[in-house]
Amino acid sequence: MALNADSQSLSKSKARGQLGRLLTRPFAAIGGAAISWVDNLGAASIFLLSAFLKILRPKQAPKIVQQIYYIGARSTLIVMLVGLFTGMVMGLQSYSALVKIGAEGVLGTLVALTLVRELGPVLTAIMIAARAGSAITAEIGIQRISEQIDALDTMRIDPLRYLISPRITASIISFPLLTALFDLIGITGGYISGVLLLGANAGTYLHRVQASMEMKDVTGGFIKAIVFAVIVSTVCCYQGYFAHMRTDSHGAKAVGLSTTSGVVLSCVLICVADYVVTSLLI
């Protein structure tokens, strides 16, 4: 009889344990994900700082110039194309809306400020993340899984100095320049659609662009571009550099997933950082 009571008590206690685990499972999953996030954020920060400190080491200049060519110069065409059509669409949409309230005169202000403050830095960063960021992750990821990074270590060549620092530096130089190009081409696009196609006054458009723009708008755009450059280059390099540490896949598949993660995470972080930087600048 006593044995029977003990066994009943044991099974009740087991059932309580199972219920407890069931109830806490969602919280454990959220907690695990949060810890992993913070862990990665910390690792990426140390990664960025370590690479940043090696920018001024000797023999870096040729590698930085080479990366400016890959990340910056070779993104020029795509940035110009996107900038042109973004400006043209803005010109079209804004003119058709403004003309209804008789305010087509401020078309230049609207196009210029939107591009310089927001769309220029954000779209440029997203375009470079898609074009050069993915290439950075894939290249570094392949170098990692084929032991080329280990080979650098064995040759006493610091991989952070050799591979990562030049890319981060090149991004910091290229992003603001490409953003400026995007802004310029975008404003030209707005001019083409608003003035040349829809008939807005050319002088008013150009005057409004010049008059409404303040230096803080331009510097704000550049600050954003630099922040995005650091985010995109760090995230893409980090994803490639640690492609071999992924727990969900290995080898070429890990490189593929890291490349996707690099681009997606860069785009999400660009949007988040855009809000944060804007709120600080305003």
Binding site: K59, E139, I142, Q143, S146, E147, Q148, D150, A151, D153, T154, M155, R156, I157, Y162
Partner: protein
């Protein structure tokens, strides 16, 4: 004995729940070629990566000239690593760089040498590695053998004092394997570095190795010379060495020792009591002298020729042979008595003296040996026995009967 150059003391390495190395103890001495052998996945590469610092032990100590790596300051550690070069199993060449750029990379990035000096050194290595035509090609445009040579050239370009070779001959055909091993042996003699090699090429690595380390079941079970390994009695020999040797030796074309024993039992089981058979034991004397005077290629060729000519003369009449030690061959003649065996031996000697010597000369010329002649002898002993007698005692008996049957003098100048 001298203080080891590198020493492992109770080194343990785990990857998650799996223990790869468990309390590993080993010594590596300066100026020697040390080869680590073991089955695939036994942790040989992991062991090698601990030396160069790509992996850190979970427990235990690694010492360099008696000093633990963990107690070295930053400069001492950098000085230690500056002496080491590593040749990866899969070469790890940079696929976006040409062969020239790959070889020049360590000089460009870690030294302050002038461009002209870097160019001179890289060009010299490229020429030594016979890669002149491939200097401006990318690794993906090269054959596996050329990639290996490019990786070897990159590992050697900084004139390191310690070179780690992780399976330098993997994925190569027998000719290339021997060429790469020959190149390592040649470089080691020329530059006097300490070589630590992981390899499966048994017994070919024995020729170029001063010491063998056997990694088995997470620990080093043997450290010693290749000759000492022959007499090492441990499950490692059956499980690893015999399985690595395969059925036939690539170098001689003869049977492996295991296959030889199987054939021996199968053949002699069919014999009735009173029937006799003969065993011949050949020894190629002065192999070291051939290596020193004529080079590694010539020594390989000497062993290869011995195998080919033994098989040619004795295989045709039902005999079967194996290489028992580096320079010792055993042939069983199941259908021949002592007189017949002696007659066949005479034919073999005549043929080998007439033709076999040519291959050795060709090997010596290929390596442009420093000395141009060498003298070596072939010993042979014959024993006659009956099926009830153990093969090992018959071989011992034949060995005791050994006498000089040929003295060969190969002169490259001729």
């Amino acid at each position: 004995m001298d203080t080891p150059l590198i020493e492992f003391k109770d080194v343990t390495k785990r990857f998650g729940p799996q223990t790869v190395l468990e309390r590993v103890n080993l010594q590596i001495y300066e100026g020697q070629v040390t080869t680590i052998i073991g089955l695939s996945g036994s942790g040989k590469s992991v062991l090698l990566k601990h030396i160069i610092g790509l992996l850190k032990p979970d427990e235990g100590t690694i010492l360099f000239r008696g000093k633990p790596l963990t107690t070295m300051n930053k400069n001492e550690k950098a000085a230690f690593l500056a002496q080491i070069s590593y040749m990866f199993q899969d070469n790890a060449l940079f696929d976006s760089m040409t062969v020239y750029e790959n070889i020049a990379l360590p000089l460009r990035e870690t030294t302050n040498l002038k461009k002209a000096e870097i160019d001179r050194r890289v060009t010299a290595r490229i020429e030594q590695s016979e890669l002149s035509d491939a200097a401006n090609k990318y690794p993906s445009e090269l054959s596996g053998g050329m990639q290996k040579r490019a990786a070897l050239a990159r590992a050697m370009v900084t004139d390191p004092q310690i070179v780690l070779f992780d399976e330098p001959t993997s994925g190569q055909d027998p000719v290339r394997k021997n060429a790469i091993l020959g190149m390592i042996a040649q470089y080691q003699r020329k530059f006097g570095f300490t070589a630590i090699m992981v390899s499966h090429e048994i017994p070919d690595v024995y020729f170029i190795s001063n010491r063998i380390l056997a990694l088995y079941d997470r620990v080093i079970v043997f450290q010693g010379t290749p000759e000492e390994l022959e007499n090492f009695n441990h499950p490692f020999k059956d499980e690893v060495i015999h399985s690595l040797e395969g059925l036939q030796e690539e170098l001689t074309g003869l049977y492996s020792k295991r296959q030889f024993k199987v054939l021996y039992h199968a053949q002699l089981k069919q014999k009735t009591l009173g029937e006799t058979y003969s065993v011949v034991v050949f020894t190629l004397e002065s192999l070291d002298a051939i290596i020193t005077s004529l080079g590694y290629e010539a020594a390989l060729e000497a062993i290869h020729s011995m195998g080919v000519y033994i098989d040619k003369h004795f295989g045709a009449i039902g005999g079967f042979s194996t290489r028992r030690r580096t320079n010792e061959f055993v042939t069983v003649l199941p259908y021949s008595n002592l007189t017949e065996a002696e007659s066949m031996l005479k034919d073999f000697v005549d043929d080998f003296q007439e033709h076999g010597i040519r291959g050795i000369l060709a090997g010596a010329r290929k390596q442009a040996a420093s000395e141009l002649c060498a003298e070596f002898t072939i010993l042979a002993g014959i024993a006659q026995s009956q099926p009830i007698v153990e093969i090992d005692s018959v071989i011992d008996s034949a060995k005791h009967q050994q006498k000089e049957i040929a003295r060969l003098r190969c002169d490259v100048r001729r």
